[in-house]
Assembly symmetry: C2
Homo-oligomer: 150 residues x 2
DNA sequence: TAGTTTAGTTCGTGTCGCGAACTTACGTTT
DNA sequence: AAACGTAAGTTCGCGACACGAACTAAACTA
C-alpha cells in the first residue's frame, strides 16, 4: 500500500479533467461523448449491437437508444447480419466516418494539452505509464473492457 | 510534439477506466457520481450554490436540480446565507456526512486498484505524475477547475 | 429612486441508461 | 417435425442529468 490516502481521489480529479476536455472537443464536433465513442468504434468497421454493448458497457436498451439517436442524426446505419437474421450490424455513414475521423484527430491533437505544464521528460514518462495502465490494448480507438466488479 | 497520435485516445481510455470504477463505488454507496461529487465538496464545509456550480462546471439550473435531488434524499440541506438573502448555502446532513466519508474512504481504498498490475516503482512514479498533472491542488477532495476552452 | 447586476428557481427539452416485458429467430431435444 | 429454451434487439416507462430561456427577489449603483 504505497499510495497515500488521497491518490484515489486524485485519480477521480484526473478523470474529470480528461472528461471535461473530451466533452468540449466532442461538443465542437456537435457530438455527445456517448455518440462519439460509438462513432469511433464503428467508423472503420461494422460491429454488432451486442459487441458494442460489451465494449461500451451498456445494456441492451442503452445500446438501442444510443444507436437510435445516432442513426437519427445520419451518422450511423443499421444493417442486416449475414448469418443471423435476429442480429444487426452498425456501420458508419460517409458523414459519420468523416466526423469520426475529424474527432479522432482532434482528440489526438488537443487532449494531450492537459499535460502541457509538465516537463518533456515527465510527459514522456507519463505517456508510457498511462499506456501501461490502460493495458497493452493499444488496438485502434478505444476499448472499454473492465472487469466490472471485484 | 513528443506524443504519438494515439495518446489522446489513450487518455480517454484511462478516463473511462477510472469513471467506470468510480461509478461502481458510488453505486455501492447508493449514489450517482454527480451526487457523490457534490457530497464530497460539501461534507466538510458549507458552500454556496454558485461556488459549487463553478467547482462542478455546472450552470445554474443544473446545480438547482442536483441539490434538489440530493436534498430529497436527505443527504444535503439548503441554508440561508449570512450576508445575502438571495444566496443559500449547501451543507451536508449527518447522514450525508457519514455517507460522504465512507465513500471517500472507499474511493481511496479501491480506485488505485486500476494500477495494480504495475510494478511498485511504476506505481509510485505514476502517482507522482498524476498528482503533478491534476495540479498542485491537493486541497481536500476534488476540485474541478479547468479553463473551459482551449 | 430608478436601473442594473447577481443568486437561485422554474419550465420545457433532450440525452442517457436502466429493468421489465416482448418479439423474432436460432439451436437443441425429443 | 414440434416443442423447448436461449439469444438478439426493441419498446415502454422511469429517473437522473443538464441545458437555455424566462422569471423572482435581493443587492448594488447612479
Amino acid at each position: 500500500m504505497t499510495e497515500g490516502p488521497g491518490f484515489g481521489n486524485t485519480l477521480v480529479c484526473l478523470s474529470v479533467l480528461i472528461q471535461r476536455r473530451y466533452l468540449q472537443i466532442c461538443a465542437d464536433h456537435d457530438l455527445t461523448t456517448a455518440q462519439a465513442q460509438l462513432l469511433c468504434l464503428v467508423k472503420d468497421q461494422p460491429r454488432g449491437m451486442s459487441e458494442l454493448g460489451h465494449l461500451l458497457s451498456l445494456a441492451k436498451p442503452g445500446m438501442s437508444g444510443l444507436v437510435d439517436r445516432t442513426e437519427r442524426r445520419g451518422l450511423v446505419r443499421r444493417g442486416a447480419s449475414e448469418h443471423d437474421r435476429r442480429a444487426c450490424t452498425v456501420s458508419s455513414t460517409p458523414l459519420g466516418k468523416e466526423i469520426g475521423d475529424a474527432l479522432y484527430a482532434d482528440v489526438a491533437a488537443r487532449l494531450p494539452g492537459i499535460v502541457d505544464h509538465l516537463s518533456p521528460a515527465d510527459r514522456q514518462l507519463f505517456q508510457e505509464l498511462v499506456t501501461a495502465v490502460t493495458g497493452e490494448t493499444v488496438s485502434g480507438p478505444c476499448r472499454g473492457d473492465d472487469a466490472p466488479a471485484r
